[in-house]
């Protein structure tokens, strides 16, 4: 674990539920999520497509767009308070300045008609940065730091940059206003292995140099394994397991984490040991309203899993939400009860 940095704020996500309005009513994409980002650490959230990762990332900025809304819960950031209650100007200033972010597919979200430098100045003006030359200098040194020719990149248009270069531009824009909480949604998707390895190394280095609290969202367990101090596994809108990365990977406790690890094609060893998980990941419409979200694919399911919400158990530094772990650890008092709760957050 890296040394806790005084500048790095802590973040506490509590009982967060986010719903999307659909033809079948409001359905939860994130449900009862509790997650603490320890100051100065990198937390990785891993989950398959549709498990709610991006929705969770957007909630960190209170940026969930209609037809979605945060139905309940809070995102408490040191020095800022609960961002879920922020609105208007306060919220706009928070984004970028205090919480830096790179959204999913950020490499395609740059303005094609303006140079990177122009977009940087726009960003500075919208945040009332007085010292624009200073901002440019900072951007250049960040880009240089990431192995690019900063001056050249700032003079370039998006189409003149490769995918890996755009990804780094995104990271620069997330950091240039000196935010100390950083959210990166799929920062290396669509990059090849060598470029990915470079970007991951850079994220780790910049994180340490600047004393950040970082959240990395990815569908690739390898990515979190490589850079995250702590790992949270998401399935069907819930966090099913959390803990120090090495411990979770070395001895997974939740049947889904175990299944996921077993399903990863590996470079060495017996190929017959790898096994696909039966069934398919749930979608918004097929997530069961009660009982365990994973039960249809679980090979150790019990009767109680059909109806009973799995208890959220804290076992040392680890948290597991599964009936099989019952009795092993301390049960959290705030067991969530799903959709009936928290209507106060409109």
């Amino acid at each position: 674990m890296p040394v806790t940095d005084k500048r790095a704020p802590g973040v506490r996500i509590s009982d967060l539920s986010v719903v999307y309005r659909t033809g079948a009513g409001e359905l939860p994409a994130v449900r009862g999520v509790d997650l603490e980002l320890v100051p100065g650490t990198i937390t990785g959230v891993v989950g398959e497509s549709g498990s709610g990762k991006s929705t969770l990332a957007l909630s960190m900025l209170n940026a969930v767009q209609p037809p979605g809304r945060i139905r309940s819960g809070s995102v408490d950031i040191d020095g800022l308070g609960d961002v879920v209650t922020l609105g208007g100007e306060d919220l706009r200033k928070t984004r970028g300045r205090h919480v830096g972010y790179v959204f999913q597919a950020a490499q395609n979200s740059l303005n094609p008609l303006k140079t990177i430098g122009k977009q940087l100045l726009d960003l500075g003006r919208s945040h009332e940065v007085d010292d624009l030359p200073g901002l440019v200098k900072e951007a250049r040194s960040l880009l240089d730091r990431m192995g690019l020719d900063g001056a050249r990149v700032l003079d370039s248009y998006q189409h003149e940059l490769s995918g890996g270069m755009r990804q780094r531009v995104g990271i620069m824009l997330a950091l240039v206003l000196n935010a100390h909480v950083v959210v990166l949604d799929e920062p290396t998707t669509a990059l090849d292995m060598i470029t990915q390895a470079t970007i991951l190394r850079i994220i780790r280095e910049v994180h340490e140099e600047r004393g950040l609290t970082t959240l990395v969202i990815t569908h690739d367990l390898g990515v979190v394994a490589e850079i995250a101090d702590r790992l949270a596994v998401m399935y069907g809108g819930r966090l099913v397991e959390q803990g120090p990365t090495r411990e979770v990977l070395g001895a997974p406790r939740h049947p889904y984490t175990r299944g996921l690890l077993q399903a990863i094609p590996r470079l060495v060893g017996d190929i017959d040991e790898a096994r696909a998980l039966p069934g398919r990941p749930p979608t918004l419409g097929t997530i069961p309203p009660d009982g365990c979200v994973f039960r249809e694919r679980c090979d150790v399911r019990m009767d109680v899993c059909e109806t009973g919400e799995p208890p959220v158990l804290t076992i040392g530094p680890r948290i597991v939400a599964c009936h099989t772990a019952a009795g092993e650890g301390e049960q959290k008092e705030t067991v969530t009860t799903g959709p009936t709760r928290g209507e106060e957050q409109a």
Partner: protein
């Protein structure tokens, strides 16, 4: 059996900002695959994997070289005759969603090519429906569930199986699977890989597998071959297990070193290779193409061009003047 000899391809980009530009995508590639065999291409983005796959599937022209199918050189045939050969090679697209028409049920998707096939082979209408069900069964789908559905009602893994079933409607000899598993959720990925292996075993279909994810290459068959491609050139080639476990080319070693390590489950290889960041990777084309990024280059590498061979008595072929084994791949951690 399909073979390629000395295949070259250069794209000419016009109207780019820098004026006309030549992109050498393939620089003299040899290829061969037996019936029922498996060959995987790996390499960085833009190295020419897709181009080579498309050329071998008859979907892209090439500048020089020769492709032969079952010993028949394609250049000796008329366009029509060539087409009938290439029809036996089917491409599976990486994105199973855009590969299927969203307005058509799975039944409709399979019906069209099967109707054509029935006409070609003089079969009756009833054969079409039977065959559709048979093919879906073959790819591990329940026809009763799938046939009446639209693509968006199926999971990524199911859609990819439908795409494969559709490719099988023409009884192909070879499938070209270009990143066929990369868009599919991890929990479903192994299922598609097992299916490809199964099609090889049961139907004798050859599989050309193009991927970023080196580990997946093992799962379509350990008897397969791996081609490592760098800037349009094969730099290392051999049995999949040998190239992964005992790579000797520094580029292969860089690729394998870049694969994330599952810390806690695995320990990283002791000699991981990080390529130096090339100032301009396209700077020069003499000498070893990898020299600008190779941490082990010598003067010889800049002056002479290495060619594929077994220099140093290696099992696999490689194109390097200084082949050396390095342990770059992660190994399982000893469980406490």
């Amino acid at each position: 059996m399909i073979t390629g000899k000395g295949i070259t391809k250069t794209f000419r980009q016009r109207g780019s900002m820098l004026g006309a530009r030549e992109v050498p995508a393939l620089r003299g590639v040899d290829f061969s695959m037996e019936k029922g065999g498996a060959v995987s291409f790996i390499g960085e983005s833009g190295c020419g994997k897709t181009t080579l796959g498309r050329i071998l599937a008859g979907l892209e022209s090439y500048d020089s070289g020769e492709i032969a199918i079952d010993g028949v050189p394609m250049s000796s045939l008329s366009h029509r005759q060539r087409q009938s050969h290439f029809r036996r090679i089917q491409l599976i697209h990486q994105d199973p969603y855009s590969a299927l028409n969203p307005a058509r049920t799975i039944h409709q998707t399979l019906d069209a090519p099967l109707t054509l096939r029935a006409k070609q082979t003089g079969r009756s209408r009833s054969w079409i429906d039977e065959r559709a069900e048979e093919l879906l069964g073959l790819v591990g789908l329940d026809p009763g569930y799938v046939l009446s559905r639209y693509p968006h009602q199926l999971s990524g893994g199911m859609r990819q199986r439908v795409v494969i079933a559709r490719a099988l409607t023409v009884d192909p000899d070879m499938l070209v699977a270009d990143e066929a598993t990369s868009m599919i959720d991890v929990s479903l990925r192994l299922g598609i890989l097992a299916l490809l292996k199964d099609l090889r075993d049961r139907l004798g279909v050859s599989v050309l597998f193009i991927t970023h994810d080196v580990a997946t290459a093992r799962y379509i068959g350990l008897d397969g071959e791996l081609y490592v491609i760098y800037r349009g050139q094969v730099v290392e080639r051999g049995p999949v297990e040998t190239v992964i476990a005992d790579p000797v080319h520094p580029y292969t070693q860089s690729l394998l070193s870049a694969i994330p390590v599952l810390h806690g489950l695995e320990v990283p290889g002791a000699e991981r290779v990080t390529p130096t960041e090339a100032i301009d990777p396209n700077r020069k084309d003499t000498g070893c193409l990898f020299a600008p990024r190779c941490p082990f280059r010598t003067d010889r590498c800049e002056a002479e061009t290495p060619v594929l061979g077994h220099d140093g008595g290696t099992v696999q072929e490689h194109a390097c003047f200084h082949p050396r084994r390095r342990s770059v791949v992660a190994t399982p951690a000893v469980q406490a």
